[in-house]
């Protein structure tokens, strides 16, 4: 099924042939020919939760802002406060439209006082680059570069990540805290960015290596080889989605979009209105002044038999449509069916009983706190 070549119109990462050789089932994700699963979604999901897995996330984008005015530039376009970042530190943020809705979510890395790396979503690469350039046009002292095609980005995720990665680098990984990063030699490649970031709710690192095919394949194979004794599995976008859903992490076009504002998405803690002006700030201030949003993202657990999926209607107990499922799926680790949906404020308290329409039938569900899954605290 995956021995045939990729459809010509889809974009490919450097590892495309590698995934196909491993027998991955491939899917069109935002115009990219990507692996959705290799050995099986549930096995891959559980490998990340209990051991270690590796994902090719090279389809994601990388924008670099450099120059003496780069901090001011980042502060203008990103809602979180980049001035609070130390060198070697990253944080979650978003680029907003003037009306307070999302252009994209982003991880901002402070490489130095004058050098910032924004890692953005695959499906919004060009939109984001154009939007950043447009909003910084004419600004002296900052240079915007699109490095998206320069990197093969691998996400190694799971409690055994450090065991695997320490075999491939002599950098002290224990010294890198969550959401911090450094550079080191990885698989013989000097100055490789090593970041303790990820999209799974587990401990993990993302490494950024040159995107030429031979280097990319060599590093991928060395990661799999180093991880063999820990049961490492190559993991696809299927498991990536169920992992991030259990951790209640947002996916663009679902929990966040250009029709959902920061408060409705429940991400206002990342919007630092007090830092000064940024694109979208006024709109968020207006929401706050009005007493908050009219709807908010909540977690749902389906309590009767049935799987709630993206786009299904959410119903009040008396059968009125009150929202739609932003993301819904079985949870392989929790063995429940879960979902995220934006609901009117009166339905957002945990314990609120509602229903989801599944094949024209109301199926009972309840609002639950998120995240659905939190990784166990490390024992000393």
């Amino acid at each position: 099924m995956s021995t045939t070549a990729a459809p010509p119109a889809l974009r490919k990462t450097a590892l495309n042939a590698t995934h196909r050789r491993l027998g991955a089932k491939m899917v069109d994700f935002g115009g990219w020919d990507m692996p959705v699963e290799y050995s099986g979604l549930i096995a891959e999901h559980m490998a990340v939760r209990t051991g270690v897995g590796v994902f090719d996330v090279s389809h994601m984008g990388d924008i670099q802002l450099r120059g003496p005015s780069s901090l001011a530039a980042v502060q203008h376009i990103s809602m979180n406060d980049a001035s609070k970042l130390k060198e070697g530190q990253a944080h979650y943020s978003a680029l907003l439209y003037p009306n307070g809705t999302f252009v994209d979510d982003v991880i901002v890395h402070r490489l130095s006082e004058n050098d910032y790396l924004l890692v953005i979503n695959a499906g919004t690469r060009e939109k984001d680059v154009n939007w950043v350039r447009k909003n910084l046009a004419g600004r002296p002292g900052v240079h915007v570069s699109d490095y998206s095609d320069y990197y093969t980005q691998l996400a190694i995720q799971g409690p055994k990540t450090v065991d695997v990665l320490r075999k491939l680098t002599d950098r002290d990984l224990d010294g890198i805290k969550n959401y911090w990063f450094t550079w080191g030699t990885v698989c013989g490649l000097h100055n490789t960015l090593i970041a303790r970031t990820g999209y799974t709710g587990e401990d993990g690192f993302e490494i950024y290596v040159p995107s030429d095919q031979p280097t990319s394949e060599r590093v991928w194979n060395e990661v799999l080889e180093a991880g063999k004794e820990f049961g490492i599995l190559p993991c696809g976008l299927g498991a990536r989605n169920t992992l991030r859903l259990e951790a209640a992490m947002a996916l663009y076009g679902h929990e966040i979009s250009d029709e959902i504002n920061v408060f409705e998405a429940g991400l206002d803690r990342y919007a630092k209105l007090e830092k000064g002006d940024f694109v979208g700030r006024d709109a968020l201030e207006a929401v706050r002044a009005a007493g908050g949003p009219k709807r908010k993202l909540v977690g749902l657990e389906i309590t009767e038999r049935g799987i709630a999926r993206d786009g299904y209607a959410v119903l009040s107990p008396d059968g009125k449509k009150i929202g739609i499922v932003a993301s819904g799926s079985p949870s392989p680790f929790l063995k429940k069916n879960i979902a995220l949906a934006h609901l009117p404020m009166e339905f957002t308290a945990p314990g609120t009983e509602i229903a989801v329409e599944i094949r024209n039938q109301p199926v009972k569900a309840v609002v639950v706190p998120t995240p659905f899954y939190k990784r166990p605290k490390k024992q000393a």
Partner: protein, 128 residues
């Protein structure tokens, strides 16, 4: 994978094991492999009618819902309740994990279904 010679097959990847007027129906190994881990089966009600070519239930993987099409018309006489708690049996043993039993209205309905050889040829062509 061995496709039982005694079964008949549809282009939607269902199989039927027909003995006189009693048909046992499931999905093929090719289907379960395409679907991935099966987590939910929506079974029809015993006693309900089924119509050839029409949806009688569905099978769900983590990622997707897949409708099931009846290869024959008739009445449902039994459903495999085991699949409610262990739907993954379809992944591990698709050709024995029957989904429903049907009393067939007209056995001639099954005349245009694919033989094992025809089905194997069909799926070989699908993967090219």
């Amino acid at each position: 994978m061995d496709y039982p010679a005694g079964y008949k097959y549809t282009k939607e990847h269902e199989w039927i094991d027909l003995n006189g007027k009693e048909g046992k129906i499931g999905i093929t190994d090719y289907a379960q492999n395409s679907l991935g881990d099966i987590v939910f089966v929506d079974l029809p009600k015993v006693g309900s009618p089924v119509e050839k070519g029409k949806v009688f239930g569905s099978v769900e993987s983590v990622k997707a819902v897949s409708d099931l099409y009846s290869p024959v018309s008739g009445t449902v006489t039994a459903v495999n309740e085991e699949l409610t708690s262990t739907p993954e049996k379809i992944n591990t043993d698709a050709h024995n994990a029957w989904i429903m039993k049907v009393e067939v209205g007209n056995v001639a309905d099954a005349g245009d279904l694919l033989s094992k050889d025809a089905y194997e040829t069909y799926i070989k062509e699908e993967t090219h």
